[in-house]
Symmetry: none
DNA sequence: AGCAAAATCACCCGAAAGTATGAAGACAAA
DNA sequence: TTTGTCTTCATACTTTCGGGTGATTTTGCT
């Protein structure tokens, strides 16, 4: 602002020189301040950012020698007992049968399977088994 | 530009009125064109494009080229439609969702799955999927 | 055309699965 | 010791599955 005021003073002081060329003078003012405006805008306004999201498809071959993916299990936060249930689930056993196998109650199996579904982000046991096999959580 | 020139003409035509207030006049010009500059900058500057690449993992069924066992399907007497249901069942869909996929009613899906269980000699859908995959009826 | 298998759908009912919530003991880590 | 996770179990409720039965329509084949 101080700079601008000084500039105005200077321009006025030299006005007589340019008096016979008022058009040119005003045009200069206009151009100078247009440039100033542009500069201000560019300098002070946050740059527009247009985010363009590109999904890059990465094909992952599930390891042929079907090694159980311990990392994935840890990532998903699946506990030992939940893994037990998941394993039996994959063989097609009912919750009741799983309970008998593991010597725990039906309710406990239900709790475990609910937690499994949450962690695997699925809705049904069939999906859980499908995803678990795909991720090599079970074999 | 034409607009700007016209504006200048108009301003000059009214110059006498503002003559005794040159400071004010110049200041006005300055402000107007500063604003014009700002507007131009905001309007014309291309937004920065920020490209964000998101890696989307796609898992590939790396199961060896196990050919689907048509003989087994025939032996078990599984029909085309039943195979359709079985296939969708293996992806973890509910009967309701299968019905939507195949444009048939829920009851029909139930009938098909019941028949599948009979022919595969299993009690549950999870077992059906497990056995079907084992027999290479589906992939 | 006529028959048989396949496909479609409906209704009922019980079983199984799944959700929500709460709670208590075990055990390891902070 | 406290904190947090895991495991266990329960109760109540909703949803989905599966079995049984019967019926109509389509379709393929002779």
């Amino acid at each position: 602002m101080a700079l601008v005021l000084f500039l105005l003073q200077w321009l006025e002081a030299h006005f007589i020189v340019f008096n016979y060329r008022l058009d040119f003078f005003i045009g200069s003012i206009a151009i100078v301040f247009t440039v100033l405006g542009i500069w201000l805008a560019l300098k002070l306004v946050k740059p527009k950012v247009e985010t363009r999201i590109i999904e890059k498809e990465i094909y992952i071959e599930s390891t042929p020698p079907t090694a159980i993916n311990q990392t994935e299990i840890a990532n998903l936060g699946i506990s030992k007992r939940e893994l037990d249930v998941l394993q039996l689930m994959a063989t097609g056993l009912s919750n009741e049968e799983i309970a008998e196998q593991l010597f725990i109650s039906l309710n406990t199996v239900k709790t475990h399977s609910s937690n499994i579904f949450l962690k695997l982000e699925v809705k049904r046991r069939t999906q859980a088994v499908e995803k678990a096999k795909r991720l090599n959580i079970i074999n």
